[in-house]
Amino acid sequence: MNNSSINNSRRNWQFSSEEMGSHAKSWLVEDETAREMLERVQTERPFLLLPPLHRVPIRVGNVVELAGPSSSSKTHILIQAAITCILPKQWNGVSYGGLGHSAMFIDLDCRFDISRFSELLNHRIMEAGSSSKIGCHKMGSEAQFARMKHYNEELFASCMKRFLYIRCYDSSEFLATLKTLHYRLRKEREAHGLNVHLLLIDSIGAFHWLDRGSSSFSPEGDNRKSWHLQNVSEAMVQEIRRLLLVHPMLVMATKAVVLGNKYSTNELTRSYGKWPAADNQYSRNVTSTDRQLPYREYMPAVWQNMHLSCRCYDIDDDLVNDEHPNNSVFLLEWLMPPANSLDKFTVTDTGVFILS
């Protein structure tokens, strides 16, 4: 810009009111440097490294989908993630390694067992409590034991207050829940000061067949939307997107898939069985052929485009693992962003542990 035009614009500014001039100037001043912004974002929206999803750093605002056949520990991963979220970072000198935020569980499968959840939470509390006392002297007195129990109960109660649960029996209820979730979360935040950090949806594809089976009739001449799969999924995705704009949280959803046919499943399991611990050659072979997805994708395209996804299998032969000999081993593969190797993990009452 040459001098004359700068002079012109200055004169224009002078012709308008003084407020506009100062307002325009304040526009040009920087808010923060890139480094400051990076620091701010890292503290407000840290990366969550939840096992077994530790390979990809996921943050608040992402949508992750865990797909797998039935009984491949997907719900268990969700529950452990919820427990990690609601445990505080530290309490009474014991560090629990949690996030201290609220978690909301939307149960579309309607199979959630609250007694099992509280059992797992108790296990985690005890385990963290006992591991921190290893260095200290052992608990000799009764009073100490009773106090510890009391602290644990208090901690349990405060954690359970941070766990919110909703159950939906069909997609109308699910859509209604999503639409009112914004107001509920806002009320929760005002009432208890809790921020919901994690939204867990058990089985996002639970009502797929029900919606497919219902009418796809649309009357001609009316501008009325009919209730069929396409509209319902679009409405659902739109609501989740909106919710993420206003309440940034991490969304984790499970999806039950049916692996191709039984023979192809056996083939997969056999090839995993041959996978030695240190050698990646087989795993690379397996993942490259898996690009074709041994299961049929049934969720509509609007959902598929919005999330990161990974896939769990379970393998039924006994790979040797030393610390947890009685538990089966599961495999997890990241599909988007694609990764070249598979993660092995096992689930126990106290959490999810990565092997190898």
Partner: protein, 431 residues
Amino acid sequence: MERFRWRHGCEEIREKDGKKDKGEYWHWGFEFLTLCFCFGSGGQLATTPAVKARLLSAALFIAGGSDHVVLVAPYEVVEPYIRPSLWALESNFQAEDELKKRRRLFSSFSISSLVKYMAPLKNLETEYPIIDPSFRKFCASHGIFSVEDFLIHDLYMLAAFAEQDISSERLKEMICISHGGMEWNCWKMLKGINMIDLLLGGGIHIGQLTELVGPSSSGKTQVCLQTASNVASNHMVLYIDTSNSFSPERIAYFLGKIIDVASAQAKNQILQKVMSNILCHSVFDIFAMFDVLHQLESHLRYQDAGGCQMRLLIVDSISLLISPVLGSSSTQGRALMLSAGYLLKKLAHQHNLAVLVINHTVGGEGGCSKPALGDSWKSIPHSRLFLSCVRGSNDYNALILKHPSMDQPLQDDTSIGSRERNFIDLGIGID
């Protein structure tokens, strides 16, 4: 909305084997009256259940905005699909007869959710006075005639279209209407047979759906009968029987082994009481089962808290009801199965029932048997128990396939010692 001419609609359904089936209907109506004629392809009656269900849902969809519907259809279409739902429609419009409305909820899966949300908005005006005519007019201009239409519309865009007097508060309230509240029930367990209780971790859980799978004559019905006789001494039991396998003599036999009273008269009294606590319904197709379950739901909602509570619901051979519909048309059958599963889980959770269903086995690969009803059914029950008979003796094996407290899956053909129990002499053998 202009409705002063006959409109013709046509539903074409392509079956899995390539056959095409067509259903047609004509409708005409004002705001308060809709006339609807349903035909099958070429004017004959509609042939398959898929077509019938589609026609019916189409008719109800149109009728969503009307007060009165006159449905003219061939008799075979009307019975048994349309008649029950017509009662529901009619009673929906009589707001004062609440009980009748709830009792007449009907049998077809796709229709049940349609009618629940398809109550026209003006019927909700008495309960929620914000739905006044101007609001309804605004909604009608956007094609919203019922609560369900709200759910698939973008509310923020609607609010942006709205005039001054309609604020977003009203829209928000509209949605809250359709959503109910949830509460936790206490999780208790029912005691059935000792060994099986041990396996299941204390008993059959109340609020959960337990499935017993096994090949024929592996003792599944006997397990159900004994559980029913155990529970019926204190609570009510509903036994839905699909294969005429309910036998009062067997119940009396099981009771005879448990009751320890000397006089025959006292024994008789207890027997009478237990028998009156067990309600047995014979159903032979899935729509009849839906009917029974809906009646149960309305009954449980209005029963008083005192007296004998219903605690156990047994469905003997749900696979016998579902397998016929599962094979014929691809999506309808599976949707029926899943909605049956959800209805059972809803009953279990909301009314504190323990639900026990029985499933058969079919041949898997390698000659070993696997549970019927396929992979979509796998994720419905909370726990699954596999019963089998040891050949050549009176012993039976029970194996847990899935349980909420178990994190590891169990493949069908492996068995781990601690998870399997042998139970002998339940009296299951031939006496």
